[in-house]
Subunit: 388 residues, 2 copies
């Protein structure tokens, strides 16, 4: 498509109408802009879902990565069992926008959030809530009883370094409590081994993940030995998808980043490859050079508010060699030309791959979805900022 030279007031109208296809190109986007390359995004989904189908493992991708109801629905159409979400407010936003099969991976704590969980479960009875605390289980059961709904509870198992009840006996005690109560149903085991996801070396990553998920599977068999049916054992990450899928007893995976990829994941090894490029970098941030200093330094309009900064690496220019990004504060990035052949002028646009996809997406209200240079559609980041 050729660029149509629209004015900003025309672009605004087109964006409001939602009918961008065949009209807008990347040159029309105000920067910094969050962009999704749809070809690469679809490649990633196809590759992951085909792999897991062949391994006979379900997928419920983690929606905390994209926070976008439209993306959750694309994934469900591609065969996902639903969507994981990190927080209750994310679940509410997804449910309100037509996403089913929700699994909330953080415990819902406190009477107000329990009240909201009941309301969610009333309208979306397949929602699964994670628990790791006996009092919380009793509180949920009591609220469910008063309201006449049932809640599906998965026990969050401590196989990592964050939350969860201990593997083995403590998990059995909690599962028995759930099984004994009248208004909650035992749904299975959630086992997230965050410490495995970014282990650089593949064989070591495999070992760490096997150790963690092995404990989850052992706990599964312990519960089943005691007559508790474990329908779901869910866990895993983009970094361990082809490790965890091979572990007997794991029933579904919850990777998130594979749809977008980021520099943190690119920096670890793949299975038999030095860098992890099983999936393509579909996510980027488009910036504009707003100032120039001498011949080798250009300043772009994206800083801490355009890229999440929790990872040690800096944004890397996409489709452009020979420039290095340095943080320039909240609003700016400072580009050094490290090859004299690179010339950047005020007004030039530079596209960057991001250090960490999840918290970067959470900075933006919308994502521009491109097919080549054409803006095929624009999706709202439905649950942006919903960390409650």
């Amino acid at each position: 498509m050729t660029h149509r030279n629209y004015s900003w007031s025309e672009i605004t109208k087109i964006l409001r109408s939602g009918e961008t296809k065949g009209k807008l190109t990347r040159d029309d986007l105000p920067t910094p802009a969050l962009m999704l390359d749809l070809d690469d995004f679809e490649y990633n989904i196809d590759k992951m879902t085909r792999y897991l189908r062949s391994s006979n493992v379900a997928i419920r991708p983690h929606g905390k990565t994209h926070k976008c109801a439209e993306i959750a629905k694309v994934l469900i159409r591609a065969g996902a069992a639903g969507s994981c979400v990190a927080k209750l407010s994310e679940a509410e936003a997804f449910a309100d926008n037509g996403v089913g099969g929700l699994l909330i991976t953080t415990a819902v704590i406190g009477k107000h959030k329990i009240e909201r969980a009941i309301l969610l479960a009333r309208n979306h009875p397949d929602t699964i809530f994670c628990v790791d605390d006996a009092q919380n289980v009793r509180d949920l059961d009591e609220a469910a009883g008063v309201s006449g709904v049932r809640l599906n509870l998965a026990i969050d198992l401590l196989v990592g370094e964050r939350t969860g009840v201990g593997c083995g006996e403590p998990a059995l005690v909690l599962a028995r409590l759930i099984a004994s109560l009248a208004h909650v149903t035992f749904a299975g085991i959630q086992a997230y081994a965050g410490q495995a996801a970014h282990v650089a070396e593949w064989e070591k990553r495999r070992r760490v993940s096997h150790e963690a998920m092995g404990k989850a599977v052992e706990t599964r068999y312990l519960l089943e030995k005691h007559g508790i049916n474990v329908a779901i054992v869910t866990g895993g990450s983009t970094g361990t998808y082809n490790i965890d899928a091979e572990i007997n007893g794991v029933t579904e995976l919850q990777p998130g980043s594979f749809i977008f990829m980021d520099l943190a994941y690119n920096s670890i090894a793949g299975n038999g490859s030095e860098a992890f490029h099983d999936f393509r970098n579909s996510l980027s941030v488009l910036t504009t050079v707003v100032s120039k200093r001498g011949s080798d330094t250009a300043v772009v309009d994206g800083g801490f508010k355009a890229f999440a900064t929790d990872q040690p690496m800096v944004p890397v220019a996409k489709n452009m060699q020979g420039v290095r990004y340095n943080w320039g504060g909240d609003e700016h990035g400072i580009l050094e030309a490290i090859k004299p052949s690179v010339t950047l002028d005020v007004g030039d646009r530079v596209e960057f791959m991001v250090p960490h996809c999840d918290p970067t997406v959470n900075l933006y209200d919308r994502i521009f979805c491109l097919r080549g240079d054409d803006v095929e559609t624009v999706w709202p980041i439905t649950a942006r900022g919903m960390s409650q």
Copy 2:
């Protein structure tokens, strides 16, 4: 005020009505929640504005810190000349919400943004735009001419490590260009010395800022010698407010963080004090313990999406000794009890001071404003995410 034990549906109604005063307390807030202590906030504004009034220097606080039109209006009522903003889209959001006296500190680049700048200037003729590039000045002048508006242009001076035209002769050339064109007015000099703001030692900070702002003042006199009136010389930060206000020839300051404060600013020295506590920590993030591990580890519901991570320090509990926060990923923080006397249980709430205020505020859609424990009002973060 005593806690009224509202249900969540009642709280939702009260939040929608906007009439929280005398009804909601901090216990009613869903976490993570961004909170403002109004007593401390008002103390900070009073202290800064009185200090600058006594120094006969104007203040146009930087709105990139708060992105909140209501806060900009509080500051203007306290005597501010208006509000600085980092980007055009922030300016538009502020202007649409009744904030005048805008100074946009990043150059407006590209035909679409220039079109928007013209529209903004038509409705808000006192808006000042920063420039550091001759072609950009000509583009702005041409667009202004076509539209029949005048644009006020301040030259952005390179006194730091980011953007701007060189001091002295290059600045004179650019100022003369502005003065020679028909549809733009020369408004003055913007000189932001970011490298001075967080210099730890006060005397060294003073030296660095004097050196930078001294060049700006010299440039001012050079321009005036050549018959160009320099109505404004603006710059400075919270870290240098009591340095820059004493420099002859600086007419106004643009600090932002003083209204909130953060751990990055607390970590530098004050004038005659080891830590910078000229202003109070009015900003915080309220979290809830969602999981517990053994007797000395508790997990709260705030991670990379609740706190900006661009500074080296971690969030610090407010009004609570003996716990240390460790990052626990996107959604969690892991609290270690470093004193055995500290006991935290699931459901307990922990309030944190933040490492860096500006990008933390940019994660939230609203800020809960407290008088003691009472939620006096709730302000939308009007320009959240508007980094364009």
